[in-house]
Symmetry: C2
Subunit: 712 residues, 2 copies
């Protein structure tokens, strides 16, 4: 028997080494006049701009995480005091869960800072590299992304491994059964997810307030181009790309990875054959660990030819290669780790059934990603239809764009349904958790590509602001164009994995709450389904209104500066970028509170007041409508964005048709970058809160019934 | 014991007499120069316009129903041949079901024709009456609506009663148990619902193609006012109000009434205590019958004072009065008809519990209606917020409007969840059906008010087109303004009743398929939930794209006429209204096919291929996301419409802010008048198809498995 713990640890450390290596490579690019062959003026301007972006990003992150730290500390105290499972005598389950929670939250925060740091260094270095060649520029952007990809994966795997091993060595010796230990480990996922909530929602509001504000006043009213340095909101907009797409996306995927693994551990630990040996029990974590060498090999294929006219094929190739390699790796390893057959509940599962469950998730993730591209890239008919319809005005553009999103959800949802059915049938609820892990197993590649996007986007913005000339901007535009498509694919992946993760957590919750079956024909469950079904809509309304309000503040400020700063529009005076950054920061922090409260307290309220049966209904309902809303808002947004770009490419800007497309693009901003991605967190966080708080619901609900005189 | 059959028959006949009385009153208003005190020219113009509307409406209806007749005949044959329950030996269940289906379809069609006939007579008579006074005009519009309200209710109740009594006397004597008979009666609901599908979808596409086309070219591009006779699409637009809001809404509510009653009969007939006496079994139909005298008394309160400045309070009063009276009537009757206690499954239900279930539906309907008003009337903050945000441009208007819709679903869905929980807990699945009937019990009043809307709207259009002067237009505008709000409330009611009806049908389906419980933790059920959840989104995309395409055709035609007919825009030449009417008709008929196929064949496909368990999941999933989509699209649409009106009232037309609001209003058109209302049909029709085809699924699924070699 191999030492799975050792392999996991080795992979995780490899991941961190790779991340460090890329970080050093990116950092080693010097920004002096001699090194980059530009005038001192240009260099000063580059430093100024990238410094402002970096400063703005860090300022936001520190304030956000100050808030998160306070909230998470309070929440940790709540966990420590409310969770004491009477079954685990002699151990304060709450304390362990709270510790795991804190560790998960801290690691997630560290990852976000790390990603942000490298992205705000990589962006300007990509711009500079673009002076030399497209190949160089691509390499810098890709390596910056890889720091995030490998750094986060390594930390996630290592952190989780340490928690499992430490808890296990502390508790298993005192006779606590492993399935109780894994329930405590689940706090880790909750920590990651809580940070992700604020990262996604806060970051999403930040980025879109800046983007919408910059576009509506700058592009539409004043008629100046995107990323023009005269626009006061331009730095905030570039900061936003980082806090939304890097910190937010990173925290989201960190959460999926941690939570899916926790779900698999909780469910797996109920099986005697799996839990007898920690090496066997850790199979789910091994999958994520295996993804690391797979993604590293994949990264060697990420090269751009000097005469490349598009970057998409290279990036798409990454996803396909990593999926194929991962399949091979899983084939080689699974039967060496898992016993030939084991029981999940009363279902006998073979190790090849477990393998197929992982593969079902892995490949359906690729399918979902591909379908996202079909609906959001202007290489396909859907986006072109939106573009063509724009000549009938903005209303028709909106109608077509919304329809595109609704329709785009069909195939992915069917893929999820089939994956759910197949993995559940083969390996019970353990199969669902494995499918979720399978989908997220190539996370290092996925995140690399995701983080590549905003780095390229920023690189273009910096080139524009530093007025570096058309040739360089053309190169960064080429990089950025691919970023848009892959960002959409990344979102598809993120949603797919969020749904399966949420479903796995739901399964773990049911396992922990001792549901053998859940009768849908029970009034409480059905009422719960209805209420759960409306929550994603309420949450979408909250986050969209938050962006609307925040953008209004930005619009007023940009208008004010254009009005009050003499010479600004003529390019003779500097805009006050800081005030816009401050507005985005303040409004994002203010506006993220209400949606966060909804997500965190709905399951607790339902669990305590109406009991776990109603809660099960609410979770299922929110999953059913949440997945469709998440997919359709993301894809509508991506479709509008690319329809606008398609018109720009073919017919140029300034026509009525283009203006109509800009309206769609602006509506799509909060759709695809705030509400849609935040719904991932809603689905997962509600499920993991339910999972972690099971023992509390039980006692609190009984206490409440007794207090109301309704107890049996 | 009273003769319930006699009372029901008496009420139904009363209803038809009332309808006839009002029809005679409306018709007795003569349209001669002497009678209305206008010049021959004006009279000729009035006749010409209203003739064109009436002709267009009838032309569309005849073509639509020709298609429906063919489809329904084919479907009837399918029913006759596929449904043979082996349990009912000696009786071809298919033949009876098909007969009930045909009768339901024919009555529903007759109702739509009747409503359309009176509406196209009432509209011009309301215009004429507005020359005298607002009180007169209101009375004519209200009475026109009442013809529809009482006529439809009377026919629905009488038709269903006849089917039950005839089937019962033919079959019960040959020893067929009543619960099998009621399963055959359910074909009646399917017939009504099938007609409703085409009415809602086809009518919805018709009305919005015309409306969007007329607005985008006429109002936005050419800058001419609403209902201006120079606009070639203006007649089609007015026709559309009738085919969408009268024929479509009527068929929808007819379907709800028939289906909810069928569901209650199917479930009730499984209870020995209820089924022993036909009088007792018919309690559900008695509720609808009792609504008739209640609504008649309510109608006496529908008076407008000569100095009235708004009509809303009068119409809203109708809903409140009818609800209160209905409550009293139910209190007086229930314990005289139902036994003191009876068994539903293994649950013992008292007659007061049955009563409370009906009341839960009745009052939550009123609450849902009220919440609809809160979110769609500019008397409240939500619409005003959309209006205020419009000064930031169309994109922000769209963001706020969509959010309004999403948020507006929360309270109604909670109301539905509570009603479901309460009625289900008190009276099992019978309780859900009773709640659905309770909500729809005051249908005569609801429909009167609904039909009042388009009559007033048309009256205003006719006044504008006949250039009758500002004073008259002001009066018709006053009538129409109330119509908008009450139309929104009517939609809320229609959705609420559709959901409860669908749930009741779902319950009846489960009862018939012998599900004692349905384990949600079964892979097939959960996969079904996911797939069901995405169907309403796909359907919404289909219907919205249908409107988009149809509107494009209209836009081209209107642009062509403006370009090619010399003197048209100067008012010196007549537009070619007929070609626009023809375009709306043709595209509505063409575009309604695909969504109809989706709704009708999805449940059949799932039932045959994956079995009834998967189908149960699909139905529940479609209900959960369908209700939220229906509410949010309807209310977003209503909110945009009234935000635009609010801006017009306070700041006038032509500003950028107003233009932004027009964009929202245009997006809202298919939302509120095509996709939203059509979702009602999706939910109900999928459920009743499942209910009616249960015996077929069973045998076909087994046959399929055997053919594929998968059978046990």
């Amino acid at each position: 028997m191999v030492s799975v713990v050792g392999i996991i640890a080795a992979c995780a450390i490899l991941s961190l080494v790779v991340a460090a290596f890329y970080a050093v490579k990116v950092n080693s690019l010097k920004l002096t006049a001699a090194d980059i062959g530009a005038s001192e003026d240009v260099v000063a301007r580059l430093r100024e701009i990238s410094g402002a972006i970096s400063e703005g990003a860090m300022a936001f992150l520190s304030q956000e995480y100050k808030f998160v730290a306070i909230f998470a500390s309070a929440f940790a105290v709540v966990i420590a005091f409310t969770l004491d499972n009477p079954a685990t005598t002699g151990v304060n389950e709450g304390l362990y869960s709270a510790s795991a929670f804190v560790i998960g939250a801290v690691i997630s925060s560290v990852c976000a800072f790390m990603g942000m740091k490298i992205a705000t260094k990589g962006n300007v270095r990509t711009t500079v590299a673009a002076r030399r060649s497209i190949t160089d520029a691509f390499r810098v952007a890709f390596q910056s992304g890889a720091v995030m990809g490998f750094g986060l994966t390594g930390l996630a795997v290592l952190g989780l491994l340490l928690v499992v091993v430490v808890f296990d060595s502390m508790l298993a010796s005192s006779g606590i059964e492993r399935h109780y230990i894994m329930e405590m480990v689940a706090g880790f996922g909750l920590g990651g997810s809580t940070v992700a909530l604020f990262g996604r929602v806060g970051g999403g509001i930040y980025t879109k307030a800046a983007d919408v504000g910059a576009d509506l006043v700058g592009k539409v009213e004043a008629g100046i181009p995107e990323d023009d340095p005269r626009n006061p909101a331009v730095i905030a907009d570039n900061v936003g790309d980082n806090v939304g797409d890097i910190a937010g996306m990173g925290a989201d995927l960190f959460g999926s990875c941690a939570e899916a693994t926790c779900a698999a551990l909780v469910i797996g630990a109920t099986s005697a054959a799996l839990t007898s040996d920690l090496n066997t029990l850790l199979y789910p974590l091994l999958i994520s660990a295996l993804g690391i060498p797979v993604c590293l090999i994949t990264a060697f294929f990420a090269r751009l030819k000097p005469d490349a006219t598009q970057v998409e094929p290279t990036l798409r190739g990454q996803l396909i290669i990593s999926t194929i390699l991962m399949t091979v790796a899983l084939y080689l390893v699974t039967d060496k780790v898992l016993p030939e057959s084991f029981l999940i509940g009363s279902l006998s599962v073979s190790n090849s059934q477990a393998l197929y469950s992982v593969l079902a998730g892995l490949w359906s993730g690729l399918l979902i990603g591909y379908m996202t591209e079909v609906y959001t890239s202007h290489g396909f008919k859907h986006v072109r239809r939106v573009a063509a319809a724009s000549d009938k005005g903005p209303a028709i553009n909106i109608i077509y764009g919304l329809s595109l999103g609704y329709e785009s959800a069909v195939v992915p949802v069917i893929a999820i349904a089939v994956t759910t059915y197949a993995s559940w049938t083969m390996a019970g609820m353990y199969g669902i958790a494995l499918a979720a892990i399978g989908m997220i197993s190539t996370i290092a590649t996925g995140l690399t590509i995701d983080a590549y996007g905003p780095v390229s986007d920023n690189a273009g913005g910096i080139a524009e602001m530093a007025e570096l000339g058309k040739e360089i901007r053309a190169r960064t535009d080429l990089l950025d164009a691919a970023g848009n498509t892959t960002a959409a694919i990344g979102k598809g992946f993120a949603i797919g994995s969020a749904v399966l993760t949420a479903l796995a957590l739901f399964a773990a919750f049911l396992t922990r709450a001792n549901f053998q079956s859940l009768n849908m024909l029970s009034p409480m469950v059905f009422a719960g389904l209805f209420v759960g079904g409306v929550l994603p809509f309420l949450f979408t309304a909250q986050t969209m209104l938050a962006v609307g309000r925040a953008a209004e503040g930005m619009i007023h400020e940009v208008r004010r500066q254009f009005r009050e700063i003499p010479g600004l529009l003529e390019g003779k005076a500097r805009a006050d970028y800081r005030s816009c950054v401050a507005i985005s920061t303040a409004s994002a922090l203010r506006e993220m509170v209400a949606p966060a409260i909804l997500v965190i307290f709905s399951p607790i309220l339902v669990g305590v007041v109406f009991g776990v049966e109603a809660l099960a209904g609410v979770l299922a309902g929110s999953l059913i409508s949440g997945v469709v809303m998440a997919l359709s808002t993301s894809n509508s947004g991506g479709g509008w964005d690319n329809a606008k770009k398609y018109i720009e490419k073919n017919e140029g800007k300034g026509t009525d048709k283009h203006k109509a497309a800009v309206v769609g693009d602006t509506v799509g901003d909060p759709f695809k970058d705030t509400s849609g991605p935040s719904l991932n967190i809603l689905m997962k966080l509600m499920a993991i809160i339910s999972l972690v708080f099971v023992p509390f619901f039980d006692s609190a609900h009984k206490w409440l019934l007794a207090a109301l005189g309704l107890g049996q």
